[in-house]
C-alpha cells in the first residue's frame, strides 16, 4: 500500500519544531532560579516559625486590625474597579469615537507609573496640606476625609488596579455575538434585561478573573498606599507594611508567618484565575495583566 490512510494522517502529530530542549531548559532554569527558589525559601522558612510565633502573630491586635483593613479595602477597591472597568471596556469595545485610542492608552498609566510616584501624586491631590490639594479640600468640605484614612487606601488601590478589569473584559466583549443582542431587541427585551440576561452571563468568567486579580494586587500593594494611608496602627495600617516593619526589626519569623498567609492567598487567587480560564476555554488568556 502506497498511500497512507487519511485517518492515520490526521492522527499523526504534527512534525515537532526544533529547539525543544534548549528553550525548555532555559525557561525551567530561569523560572527555577528567579521565581521558584525564593518562593521555596519562604515555604521552608515555615519550619523555623514556632507555634508560639504563629500564636503571637495571629492574636496580635495590631495584625488583626491590619488584616481587617487590608481585606476590607481590597474588596471595596476591587468592587469599584470592576464597575469602572466594565464601563471602560464597554465604551472602548462597543463605541467608535474621537479619542478612543487616547483613552485606551491612558488606561495603561498605572502599569507604567512607579507605585511610589503614584503614592506621592495621590498625597499631593488628596491631602489638605498637599501642594496641589485639588480634591482634598473640596472633599473635606462635604465631609469626606481621604488622606490618612482607609478611604485613602482604597483610592490608591483603585489607581493601581484600574486597568485590570477592563483588560480582562475587553477580549470577551469583542467576541460577543451581536446577532444575539439583536435577537433580544427584536424579541422585546428591555436594555436592562439585555444587559443582565445576555452580557453578564457572557462576561462572567472575565468578571471573576478581573475581580480576583484586582483583589490580589490591591492586597499586596505597598508603594502607592503608604504615602497616602497615614499608616496609623489599628486604623489605616496594611498587612504589607507590617511585614516591612517586622523585617526592619529583624523579626524574620513574624514577617515570614504573615508572608506565608499572603503567599497562600496569592496561590488561591492564581488557582481561581486558572480554573476560570480553563472552564471557559482560551477566551480569557488575552486578558491577563
Amino acid at each position: 500500500m502506497i498511500s497512507t490512510p487519511i485517518k492515520s494522517l490526521a492522527r499523526r502529530r504534527a512534525p515537532s519544531l526544533p529547539g525543544l530542549v534548549p528553550t525548555t531548559a532555559f525557561s525551567v532554569i530561569f523560572l527555577g532560579l528567579v521565581v521558584a527558589l525564593p518562593v521555596l525559601a519562604l515555604v521552608v522558612q515555615s519550619h523555623v516559625i514556632t507555634p508560639d510565633v504563629w500564636l503571637k502573630t495571629l492574636t496580635s491586635r495590631r495584625v488583626l486590625a491590619a488584616m481587617r483593613v487590608s481585606f476590607g479595602t481590597s474588596a471595596a477597591s476591587a468592587l469599584v474597579t470592576s464597575v469602572i472597568g466594565l464601563l471602560l471596556a464597554w465604551v472602548l469595545e462597543r463605541y467608535r469615537f474621537t479619542g478612543r485610542r487616547v483613552l485606551d492608552a491612558l488606561l495603561d498609566i498605572p502599569l507604567a507609573l512607579p507605585t511610589a510616584v503614584a503614592g506621592l501624586a495621590l498625597a499631593a491631590i488628596y491631602a489638605e496640606n498637599g501642594s496641589q490639594s485639588w480634591l482634598g479640600g473640596p472633599l473635606k468640605s462635604i465631609g469626606l476625609q481621604v488622606a490618612y484614612t482607609p478611604l485613602g487606601i482604597i483610592v490608591a488601590q483603585v489607581f493601581v488596579t484600574l486597568p485590570v478589569q477592563t483588560r480582562a473584559l475587553q477580549p470577551l466583549l469583542r467576541q460577543f455575538d451581536s446577532t444575539v443582542e439583536d435577537a433580544g431587541i427584536i424579541l422585546g427585551a428591555s436594555p436592562w434585561q439585555r444587559f443582565w440576561r445576555l452580557f453578564v452571563p457572557h462576561l462572567s468568567p472575565a468578571l471573576i478573573c478581573g475581580f480576583t486579580q484586582a483583589f490580589a494586587r490591591a492586597l499586596g500593594e505597598y508603594g502607592a498606599i503608604i504615602f497616602i494611608a497615614g499608616n496609623l496602627p489599628g486604623y489605616s495600617e496594611i498587612v504589607p507594611l507590617i511585614i516591612a516593619t517586622k523585617l526592619e526589626q529583624f523579626d524574620y519569623a513574624g514577617a515570614s508567618a504573615l508572608a506565608l498567609i499572603m503567599l497562600a492567598i496569592s496561590f488561591a487567587s492564581l488557582l481561581i484565575l486558572n480554573l476560570s480560564a480553563k472552564n471557559f476555554g482560551n477566551r480569557l488568556k488575552e486578558g491577563f495583566l
Binding site: P18, A112, P114, A116
Partner: protein, 304 residues
C-alpha cells in the same frame, strides 16, 4: 433586493434587517446614552489617572524652574539614576530571552507540563512586592540558604546592588511573557512548520518567521517591563538597605526625600520617573496602532 454593503452590522446601530422592501433598523442604544457613557469614561480616567500625573509636575515646579533643576541635578539623584538604568539594562535582556524561550517551548514545541511553567510565570503578579523582597532576603541574606554559601565566598548579596537587581527581576518576570504569549499562541505553528519543511533550521525559523510576526507585541512587552523595572519600589526597598547613592534606585530616592520633608525635591525626582512613564506609554501606543487592523474603506462604524 440589493444589499448595501455600507449598512452592515455596526456596534451602535445594530443589524439592518431587510424584510421585503422597507428596512428595519435595530436600535441598540440612544445617542445621548452613548455620549454620556463616553463622557463619563473620560471624566473617570481624567480624574483618576491623568490628574495625578499633572499633580506631580505641578508640585515639582511649585518653587520655580531653578529650584526644580537644582533638586534634580545633584550627585545623589545622578547615582540613583545610574543604578536604575543599570537595573533596567540587566533585567530587560534576561526577561526578553526568557519570554521568547518560554513562548517557543510552550507554543511551538508543545512541551509537557506547560501549565506549571505558566503558573510560575504568573506568580509574581499576585505576590505582594514586600513578600517578594522578604523571599530574596530569606534566600540570599546572611542566614539564608544561598546567602551563607555566598558569604563564605566573600559575596554579600542583600543590601547591595545584586539584591536590587534580583528583586526587580523577580517582580518583572511576567511582563514580556504575558504580552507575547497570547499572540504567539494565536498564530499556531503552520508557518514555522512550512519553513522547517523547506529546510530552515530552528534559529533561522525563529529569526525569519516567528520574530517578525510578534515584534509589535514584543516591543510593547519590553516597554512595560522597562517601566516596571525602573519603578519597582516594594521589593527593592526591602532588599536595598537604602545606602544612599549606592543602593538607592530613583523610587527609593524619592521616598527618602519625601520622608525628609524635602517635598519639592521629592516631586522633582518623581517627575523624572513620570516623564519616563509617559514617554514609554506614548511609544507603546505608537506600536499598538500597528496591531489594530486598518479600518476598511467602507467602515460602517458611525461616530458618536
Amino acid at each position: 433586493m440589493k444589499f448595501d454593503a455600507s449598512l452592515g452590522v455596526t456596534p451602535e446601530i445594530g443589524a439592518q434587517v431587510f424584510v421585503g422592501s422597507p428596512r428595519i433598523a435595530i436600535k441598540r442604544s440612544t445617542l445621548w446614552f452613548r455620549r454620556s457613557l463616553i463622557g463619563l469614561s473620560f471624566a473617570v480616567v481624567g480624574v483618576a489617572l491623568v490628574m495625578p500625573i499633572i499633580a506631580i509636575f505641578g508640585a515639582a515646579l511649585n518653587h520655580g524652574f531653578g529650584t526644580y533643576l537644582s533638586s534634580i541635578l545633584n550627585a545623589e539623584t545622578w547615582g540613583a539614576l545610574k543604578l536604575t538604568l543599570l537595573t533596567v539594562a540587566l533585567v530587560l535582556p534576561l526577561n526578553t530571552l526568557f519570554a521568547l524561550s518560554l513562548a517557543w517551548a510552550i507554543n511551538k514545541t508543545r512541551v509537557k507540563g506547560s501549565t506549571w511553567l505558566l503558573i510560575l510565570t504568573d506568580l509574581p503578579l499576585t505576590i505582594s512586592p514586600v513578600v517578594s523582597g522578604l523571599m530574596i532576603i530569606l534566600l540570599y541574606g546572611q542566614r539564608g540558604w544561598l546567602g551563607t554559601q555566598l558569604h563564605a565566598l566573600g559575596f554579600d548579596v542583600v543590601y547591595s546592588v545584586p539584591a536590587v537587581i534580583l528583586g526587580t527581576l523577580f517582580v518583572t518576570v511576567p511582563y514580556v511573557a504575558k504580552q507575547i504569549l497570547p499572540q504567539i499562541e494565536a498564530q499556531g505553528t503552520q508557518l514555522e512548520e512550512a519553513a522547517a519543511t523547506l529546510g530552515a533550521g530552528g534559529w533561522q525559523i525563529f529569526k525569519r518567521v516567528t520574530l517578525p510576526s510578534i515584534r509589535l507585541s514584543l516591543v510593547q512587552g519590553v516597554i512595560l517591563a522597562a517601566a516596571r523595572a525602573a519603578g519597582e519600589f516594594g521589593a527593592v526597598s526591602m532588599v536595598s538597605g537604602h545606602i544612599r547613592g549606592l543602593t538607592t534606585t530613583l523610587p527609593q530616592h524619592v521616598e527618602i526625600l519625601y520622608n525628609e520633608y524635602r517635598f519639592t525635591a521629592a516631586y522633582s525626582v518623581a517627575s523624572i520617573l513620570t516623564l519616563f512613564a509617559v514617554l514609554s506609554l506614548a511609544v507603546k501606543a505608537f506600536f499598538a496602532s500597528g496591531l489594530e487592523p486598518a479600518p476598511r474603506p467602507n467602515d460602517p462604524s458611525r461616530r458618536a
